[in-house]
Amino acid sequence: MHYGSLLLDSIGFFDSLPLAKLEVGHHFYWHIGNKTVHGQVFINTWIVIGLLLIASIAATRNIQRIPSGIQNLMEYALEYVRDLTKAQIGEKEYRPWVPFVGTLFLFIFVANWSGALVPWKLFEIPEGELAAPTNDINTTVALALLVSLAYFFAGFRKKGLGYFAKYIEPTPVLLPIAILEDFTKPLSLSFRLFGNILADELVVAVLVLLVPLFIPLPVMMLGLFTSAIQALVFATLAAAYIHEALEGHGEEEAH
């Protein structure tokens, strides 16, 4: 798992550059009982959560009818995620899902951008390095599993056990594929996010190693763009899966 640092250790010359050292697979372990957790992921997650909560509280502390400043910004964010959810789930049932889908988007977006914008390397931790929480597979799998739970919950709450009818709905022949879908959905969700963010940080790091300063800037801009797009894709797909669970084939034909 340490090939990243091995690769770069072989180019020992670049070790003298303080900002440009790659460490993939190194983790800052915390021990809880006989289990371990990735400390650097949690530190960054708390920073991201703190940012979100501070922005929210600052926006809602003194609510005005005519919004200004931070309230305006957060209202814009809220309307953005609300429209996103509404576009996927539909006018009728989107309301209870706005907090979940919206928080997915905001959390991933802020996490990705924190990784792309903040020079975490400046903060020393004993092992590993601080980076976007979303470049750890644990974070993305956790989010993807929550999406799976959410759409199962949505389906069961709407239709009860009738939710299983969708597995054999057009024809029972497709049953294995329908079951397989439930596995591929969280898998593709988590790996898409994880791969994009990790790849972006690696590309930037490698470019910084090879040609410092100005050459990596376009790639960094591209990284910002990718980060935003990935947050949007994750939230949109989550909402789309929930919509699929709520609708089902039978109802769609009845339209």
Binding site: T60, I63, T103, I137, N138
Partner: protein, 138 residues
């Protein structure tokens, strides 16, 4: 890269908690203020629309009144003009009558004077002829 450990369940729990807290501090209050504002704007718009309707109705009424008044004033002017014309004609006729009467009177007087003059002349002719006769006969 792919070492899963307790990070995963803890992250799930943490995210659920984040959704819960964000729902309280972010989604609920801001959604409420947005819907409140929409209601406020909608009610204000309907109120404004009503007022506009009222204003339009008033303007229409005013214009109608203005037209009525204009028509009335025009008819008043017309009747006044007619009256004035009548009065003028009457007066002219009266004056003409008077003038004619005066003219007649003057003519009559002239005639009388002519007659009396003729009479005196006739008398004088008589005396003159008598005198001439006397002179001739003498």
């Amino acid at each position: 890269m792919f070492d899963f450990d307790l990070t995963l369940p803890l992250m799930m729990a943490q995210f659920v908690a984040l959704v819960y807290v964000m729902n309280i501090v972010f989604y609920k209050p801001l959604t409420k203020v947005i819907t409140d504002r929409e209601d406020y704007v909608r009610s204000n718009t309907t109120g404004a629309k009503e007022q506009l309707d009222q204003a339009n109705k008033l303007a229409e009424q005013y214009e109608q009144e203005l037209a009525d008044t204009r028509r009335q004033s025009q008819s008043t002017i017309a009747s006044a003009q007619e009256e004035a014309q009548q009065i003028a004609q009457q007066e002219i006729a009266e004056v003409q009558k008077q003038i004619q009467a005066e003219l007649q009177q003057a003519q009559q007087e002239l005639e009388q004077q002519k007659q009396s003059a003729f009479q005196t002349l006739e008398g004088q002719v008589n005396t003159l002829s008598n005198q001439i006769l006397d002179k001739l006969l003498v």
